[in-house]
């Protein structure tokens, strides 16, 4: 494999795009970047650019190292680093406590799971010292409080509290994630305000999990599952 092509510069109207190969070892990548930036130094001069890294997901440390190389080797005036739209994530970047990571060989053992068939209506409350699966919707005003995980095969519009005994490893998954309030462990959050009422009616599977005191809600699509 030709290592030379693991770093390719591309100038666009938005700034400098640096295409990085996702497979190659990071140290080799750094060497190639250093070589290429040195070669392109005269071309760049002291232009003011924004930089976008594409093709490979970098963690903060890696990104910093690459930027350091660029600033060492060139006189580029970096105005800002453009965040690449996060679609696929490398598995290495998923936090270890990402709930679906605990599923080894596709299997995960859960202490107890209660299934509930039908819609949870306003004013109804399900409390269970284990995981809960609802085959139906959770209407606004309805609540589910579980020590374990909560999975809703329908619209979540009510209040859910997963990991209610303080456990931060629990997750909440729903086909339509629009909770009034979502709590995992000791953290409370709510869904972002709906811009379009009709958009809110579409089913779009998502999973909510806790990482570093923040609740992340991500779509469950083939990209997420491929990259676990």
């Amino acid at each position: 494999m030709n290592h030379e092509n693991c770093v390719i510069f591309k100038g666009t109207k938005d700034g400098l795009v640096i295409l990085l190969s996702p497979d190659i070892d990071f140290d080799i990548l750094k060497k190639v970047l250093r070589k290429k930036t040195e070669e392109a130094k005269k071309f760049f001069k002291d232009a003011k650019v924004s930089i976008t890294f594409k093709g490979r997901i970098l963690n903060e440390d890696e990104e910093y190292k690459l930027l350091q190389i660029i600033s060492e080797e060139t006189q580029l005036n970096i105005s800002y680093i453009h965040e690449e739209n996060i679609g696929a994530k490398k598995s290495g970047d998923r936090p270890d406590d990402f709930p679906l990571n605990r599923i080894e060989n596709g299997r995960m053992e859960v202490d107890k799971t209660q299934y509930y068939k039908g819609t949870i209506r306003s004013g109804q409350s399900i409390e269970f010292p284990g995981s809960v699966v609802v085959i139906g919707d959770v209407n606004p005003g309805g609540e589910i409080i579980a020590k374990g995980n909560i999975i809703i095969l329908g619209f979540l519009k009510g209040i859910v509290h997963a990991g209610c005994d303080g456990s931060s490893k629990a997750f909440v998954a729903a086909l339509g994630m629009r909770p009034m309030q979502l709590r995992i462990g000791g953290i409370i959050t709510r869904a972002p305000d709906q811009e379009d009422y009709k958009e809110g009616l579409k089913l779009f599977p998502q999973i909510a999990h806790l990482h570093n005191e923040n609740i992340y809600i991500e779509p469950i699509d083939h990209k997420l599952l491929e990259n676990l």
Binding site: T119, R121, S122, G123, N139, P140, G141, Y197
Partner: protein, 274 residues
């Protein structure tokens, strides 16, 4: 009492409830009850809203009340003495509530006993349930076989209807049917009001009828003549259709659009703004 051969009698006790106040329970009770009576059924309307009785006013019978529900339950009179026969519709009767007492004056058990007594005489017993979820509600549903939930296409009303349906299901009154009241198709088309499908999706119950917002209702309430008797009233027609469905006849939902459009055209013709 509809008796089949072999003495199998099929009276139905239906409670009309909503949770939220002001969505049209009393209006629905009056119209559905009168509609059923017009079809030849023997019907009694029972006002369970003790302390805030309205059914007698809406039916135009308030000046004929001598005895009420609490008098019957406390033994001051017989049921027949308290029942008011409507002179306009020969098979329709009203059992009014008490105005000077409150909802603690009767218990669910007493209510159930009364309903069982009424079953012997009537084909349909329609109970007007008070708003709320406390004692009044518990009393009203005690003797019922099935429930009709009334709601308007507004988030607050739908939220309360959802709550009420949950409570009904918990009391073994499963599969309530829905009356969607005061719908305004022009607002639905603009996206300013919830559509029929939106409400039914959230509540997950079968639709009994969709009643358009109609000025005739205000008029008919004030006159004490239910709109179901008025052939020019759209709401009245919608109630007549709902009555057919209760009796088991599958009537398609009224196309409320056509009428709006027609009236809209007429109005435009005469230069009358909407």
């Amino acid at each position: 009492m509809l008796c089949q051969q072999g003495g199998n009698c099929m009276s139905q006790v239906i409670v009309i409830t909503s949770g939220k106040g002001g969505v049209g329970k009393t209006t629905t009770t009056a119209n559905i009850g009168t509609g059923l009576a017009l079809k030849g059924n023997k019907v009694v309307l029972l006002d369970a809203d003790i302390g805030l009785r309205n059914l007698d006013v809406v039916m135009g019978l308030e000046n004929r009340i001598v005895y009420d529900l609490i008098d019957v339950v406390e033994g001051h009179c017989r049921v027949k003495q308290a029942l008011i026969k409507d002179k306009r519709y020969p098979t329709l009767y009203l059992l009014p509530a008490a105005q000077t007492r409150d909802k603690n004056a009767i218990s669910p058990e007493q209510m159930q006993k009364l309903c069982d007594q009424l079953r012997e005489e009537f084909d349909y017993i329609i109970i007007d349930c008070p708003a709320g979820i406390e004692q009044g509600f518990k009393n009203a549903i005690a003797g019922a076989d099935r429930a009709i939930v009334v709601t308007t296409p507004e988030v607050s009303a739908v939220r309360d209807a959802d709550r009420i349906i949950g409570l009904l299901e918990a009391s073994e009154l499963r599969n309530p049917t829905l009356i969607l009241n005061r719908i305004r198709m022009n607002m639905v088309k603009r996206g300013d009001m919830m559509a029929m499908d939106d409400v039914v999706d959230i509540l997950a119950v079968d639709l009994l009828g969709v009643i358009p917002d109609d000025e005739n209702i205000v008029v008919s309430t004030n006159r004490g003549e239910p709109a179901v008797t008025d052939s020019s009233s759209l709401a009245g027609q919608a109630f007549r259709n709902a009555v057919e469905r209760i009796m088991g006849n599958n009537v398609p939902l009224m196309d409320l659009d056509i009428n709006e459009g027609f009236m809209g055209k007429i109005k435009k013709l005469f230069g009358i703004g909407n």
